[in-house]
Symmetry: D3
Subunit: 207 residues, 6 copies
């Protein structure tokens, strides 16, 4: 069970990726289960916007979701390197926080940074019991194959509230309230509940 983890590490390529991919799950974990969640962004999203703004927005968003530990690495936006250096850095996080579960990108995503993070995470977190890959607006429809769903009924508004913090990105349609509700409703409908987030399993060990 992911929600009842003591420690969850959430790893996203850019500010807003974690919120989009598993904001509801994080909110539920921190609020209903008291889980400690640590968020790591690999870039500061500086390709199109001022980095300071994006970092502030994501920090606020994470706070709304109950996450107080937010880290920003400084790899180049759109060019996260597929290197041992990054693997090693992520391993250090795992050693430091000893997470029960990692939530991160899928390798079945069309965005090069997402894909890179997905592959690196597979190597870095090989000793973590649970590694799940979340959905982004850029996953490939016929290759992102979720089998693990988390019921986020009652958490959708909070997820939307977190996404609203990204004022600098507000022209992105997938950050809109309707998109958030819509995705949650669709994934919920696939498993018979009102709202859900969907994940691919990279590795899942029930202890």
């Amino acid at each position: 069970m992911v929600l009842a983890s003591k420690v969850i590490l959430a790893v996203g390529a850019h500010p807003d990726d974690i919120e989009l991919g598993c904001g509801g799950t994080i909110y539920k974990a921190t609020h209903a289960h008291g889980t400690r969640v640590i968020a790591i962004y690999m870039t500061r999203g500086g390709k199109t916007t001022d980095e300071a703004i994006r970092m502030r927005e994501s920090t606020e968003a994470m706070n709304i979701l109950g996450v107080k530990e937010v880290y920003f690495e400084n790899f180049p936006d759109t060019e996260i390197p597929d290197s041992y250096e990054v693997i090693n850095l992520l391993e250090q996080y795992a050693l430091k926080f000893n997470p029960d579960a990692v939530l991160t990108h899928s390798v079945n995503d069309t965005h090069q940074d997402h894909r890179t993070v997905g592959w690196l995470a597979m190597a870095s977190f090989r000793n973590v019991p649970k590694v799940l890959a979340f959905e982004t607006p850029r996953v490939r429809p016929a290759t992102f194959l979720p089998t693990y769903f988390v019921n986020i009924k009652g958490c959708v508004d909070k997820k939307a509230e977190a996404l609203r913090c990204h004022v600098s990105q507000k022209e992105k349609r997938y950050l809109a309230y309707e998109s958030t509700v819509n995705l949650a409703s669709f994934r919920g409908s696939q498993v018979g509940v009102e709202a859900a987030e969907a994940f691919e399993i990279v590795k899942y060990l029930e202890i």
Copy 2:
């Protein structure tokens, strides 16, 4: 291109399956392209409701979508036989109407009747240039893998209107207006438009 077909054959297991799976596409084909669409239901849906009622409801729904030729076979609801008899019957339809495209069930569906129709269609329509499998509320999330999307912007309300004809089934959540909008919006978001229907390709030949 499916929409511009001269003749489309839509084959569903039960009254309401076609409307759910490709109602928007059919409406757009009949109204924007003047396509002739023939609908075939393999059962009359008599397991839980009076057959006459269900046939009437589906006929009305199809009329709203611009379909005037609606056929109801009489195979047992929940037990459509996986037999040569059914293959042969569907082949006769293909010979009679000479369709450019067939829209029908996916074999990646949890409902036994849907799966059976999907397999039979694969054999029966082997000489039809295009065979696409539509999405139902019962497809398996991680094995239904759509690659073909039809933009149904402007057709969602008509699809919903058609689904509303199924008064006898109104307790099914997936027939509700919200569900229709939600599915169309999600599938649209995957390909960058407001509303779409998603299909697996069984066979696709562009002539």
Copy 3:
């Protein structure tokens, strides 16, 4: 989390299938979590052995694993029908016991009865939050794709003890103690623990 379920329904084609596929998980659930487990065998395994003997053996095995409710249906061994009747029967079990999780066969199995049960379960248990498919000696190596592992360290001997009850089947190599340890060790090694059982996810909703 499967282990912490209130109620687990385990469905096997023949006496010994459940023990082989998820004996360790069941033992852990009943003993460490107080889970109520109900076992259903679809046949009495009468093809090669006296049915009374096989039923007695499986009942004993299940008792060792902490399961007191054991049901034996009477479908023909090697010819479990792929019919609505069976779907309906399994649905009745779901309605009666309201399980949180179902453990059953995979459709990616070379034994026709296993495959049939896997497909039927998919339809019957569509409203159960978690449906997992276990491993048998007959799964297809390259199509049985487990992503969900349960740590069964400390439960392997009990699983082996349960399997030893099947005295009438003792010539089957996969029932031997070494085979049990070996499978558990291999699956454990894939996720970094001493012993595990592996499952495919048919459906998984974390509530």
Copy 4:
């Protein structure tokens, strides 16, 4: 290695399936390696042609390929039953001839009889070291996934000669000389030789 088998069992649904799927491989095995090949047809192909004619044609074809032991079962053409009876019958052949390799249909085929034989073979021949699935004109392009290729350079004309025996089926385009050459050339080009036959591996144990 398939070609050097002592005994190969080839199992086809209808007269001409074996010739089409693995005629070149069989010719090479019997002529270059002295392999004993036994052919089993599950039906006599009576749906559209006189059974006696089809049996005679296939017997001739097999003789050209060096096969002297040809068996014709009598299951209904287009309706081969998916039953234990058939599994048992195929098991008897395995027990009698003790083959090193079985060549038969793929489950990834659009013809219902082919698919049925593919599934049954998986159960019946579970103790045979090598089971390979051949290509027919009815396999599904995107799900028939061959990984095992046999070089049939120098055997294509003999394969074509065997196919020419099926005078009663001569309107089938895929029996024409050009089709035979074309398929062999394409499959050859995929592995860098002049001519090949392609197979999916169901099971492969190198002893």
Copy 5:
């Protein structure tokens, strides 16, 4: 429908890749539908031959196919970088020409340059309605899974004529007339026509 596109962008790694992968489709589009086709080669193929020669050959080949706009980028042959720079460059082409469809490499190819272009295209052309991946002599037989076929009857000789322009490469067997006919015939046979080209769908939106 690809053929009826207003604008098609064809992107190949090396001179001759586009001609090989979709020469028939391009010829049909330009001649039967008046489609504007723009060809982009990512390298000048200088690894083994003079770049000027290869550029001239490909320009001639494209002219035969009805393509007048041919661009040659200058990334290193056999080492096309998997970088944001390349993604950005391809995005600029998309912005400039606003294509309805992109035809390019598959990520399921054994040639590193082909694979790289396939992945980059997925990111760069995310807003293009249709992105299809063509077949090269280097695709992996069991992972290149075409579902979209274009009938190129009557265009095969023109495709072969275009390939003949590559005089400097004439030792490559797959450029020979026989190979062209053979591939077209095989792919045609899979969908019931005389000649076809096969594509994987990366993204397909029917508007």
Copy 6:
């Protein structure tokens, strides 16, 4: 048939990878068939241990398995470059030794170096008739899909003896005798023998 090859090239990322992945197969090939086996390690495993030690250990291990030709390249451990230089180097080995079969890493592995070698090998050895990918402790359970098994009964102890040479790595659980037996037994049980090694087919041409 792999075992009866005249020349096998085994390519591993680090000292111990080849022994782990196909030590039994190599021993059987050299001893029962007199096959010439050449081993190539792409790195010297210097990340955590002295390179000279690791090279000596692997050389000893290979000698036990009957391999006298052992090459150590010097690419950086954990950062094998995905470059044309490496492809070219591997091609040179193929040209020099003209192998019938290559045994190497799978691209379905969580270790970045393993994956890189898998992809490079696909390009470099495209003209080798047989390329098989072996299993490491780091393959991904649900994406490493072996279809080719080699019976290594009677060779497991020798494989274990070879692995014992890696004294500097002895804390790695997967090098232990029990792990070796366990893996061999599990893979054997999947194909009905006492011990086996499992491979994915990258390319397989029977000549």
